[in-house]
């Protein structure tokens, strides 16, 4: 009964929130109702132009699982395109293995980091729904994926010019750092717009997510360059050790 009461309270608050016009500070930050529906093209446009309106939609409307699903779809399409371009460095099996590893690796990283994101945002004082937090995570991956597609012609140029897998590897890591940095900035903005009081915990989570994704590139190696085996799960290595060994081998 108590639960029903809480649900009805949340419904009332949700409908009230959805109907009242945004405050001046909300409008300035872009935390305003989203125009249009949750279609692929509209969400893609909003992700680039008015990303906070997506979180407003998630926070104020009921049963909006369509937004996270569309964001995941944007992520998969973007990362597949980017992965194909990365695969052109080695061709062969890598042309399908690289996109598969990039998409699955990033999705798995996001999945294992989701519980900690929810807890850390709660500790940071954010009173958001779980679906909103899922949407935050999906938007990080989707925005990073979109920016990686923007970098795809650059990666292609270097993949056809360079012979060094280590150079390409470090360049891809740097590009990933830049793209995910934009995703993190978006989540910080969303957190602040939704009333997060302490962003220190979110910063810790961002570092953890970055660490997990970089370690994933070592776990799923080789993503760049040729190899006899498609995976190398037997030999366990920390990414710092792996990359320093590769760098040492390249410079010897």
């Amino acid at each position: 009964m108590n639960e029903n009461k809480q649900d009805s309270t949340r419904e009332t608050v949700g409908s009230v929130k959805a109907n009242i016009p945004p405050s001046i500070s909300d409008a300035e930050s872009g935390f305003v109702p989203m125009e249009g529906d949750a279609s692929f093209s509209n969400l893609l446009s909003k992700l680039l132009r008015k990303p906070l309106s997506i979180f407003h939609e998630l926070e104020t409307k009921e049963a909006l699982w369509r937004i996270p699903i569309t964001l995941i779809l944007i992520s998969v399409v973007s990362l597949t395109v980017f992965g194909l371009v990365v695969g052109t460095f080695s061709w062969g099996a890598q042309i399908w293995a690289a996109p598969l590893k990039i998409v699955s690796g990033l999705m798995f990283s996001a999945l294992i980091c989701l519980p900690s994101l929810y807890i850390f945002t709660c500790i940071g004082g954010l009173e958001a729904r779980f679906s909103t937090v899922v949407g935050m995570l999906c938007s990080i991956v989707a925005l990073s994926g979109l920016l990686l597609v923007g970098f795809a012609p650059v990666v292609w140029l270097f993949s056809v010019s360079s012979t060094s897998a280590v150079f390409i590897g470090f360049m891809l890591l740097a590009l990933w750092g830049i793209c995910v940095g934009f995703g993190f900035t978006l989540v910080f903005r969303a957190g602040k717009a939704m009333g997060m009081t302490n962003t220190g915990h979110l910063l810790v989570w961002c570092l953890i997510f970055l660490l997990v994704t970089v370690q994933m590139t070592t776990t799923l190696r080789p993503i760049v360059g040729e190899s006899d085996a498609l995976f190398n799960f037997e030999e366990k290595k920390f990414f710092l050790q792996y990359w320093s060994e590769e760098l040492q081998r390249a410079t010897d």
Binding site: G150, P153, V154, L157, S161, T163
Partner: protein, 233 residues
Amino acid sequence: MNPTAQNAIALCRGDNGLLADWIGAARSGSVRCCLLLIALGCGAYGFTVGLRNGWEMGAYVAVKLPLILIITLLLNGLLNGLLGLVLGSGIGFRKSVQFLLTGFAIMAVILGALSPIGFFATLNMPSSGDGSGRFAWHGASLLMHTGLIAFAGITAHARLLHYVREFADSSRAGTHAFFAWLAGNLFVGAQVSWNLRPFFVSPGLEVEFLRNDPFNGNFYEAVIVALKNVSQI
């Protein structure tokens, strides 16, 4: 006066009205005008760069110098549009291309204006085939042209920054977008110029449009190798 020449002068003077018309697509033919200015200005200057190694090399560099800018813009077009939007400048794909084309056109006008000086300097240098001091003159030519191209680039981009800040949703976002574009264009432009080498033709090497292996290696690997060699001295 010819409309293209009028536009070139207006751009150098910082005529905001012209760019406002171009950005708002109120005046057609802006892309054609910018491309024409780039082809003429960079082409003329490129000719003086290559001339030291003969008319053939002059013609090659006249074609390749504008190509560097256009290929860089094509490769970075999508990224620049995305960065413009994500950084909150409100400048999307079409506008970012128009802004950067305008910046490159200003640079081309400056280079075109400097090309008679480059031509005169080249005529006063011994040709690359002369044995005595050919490395010294090659170095002098390299430094002079690099310096002049850098000057034109910096002046044009300073003007472009002014434009971008004015047209962006906020001055701060415009500055961020501008420097993000600049970083991307420098990173990719260096590699494109590496792929399209030679431009200055080092003494002892042959005159040719592209090297036999234009896609073998990259600019940054070459810099790393050079640094390693220097550290061993």
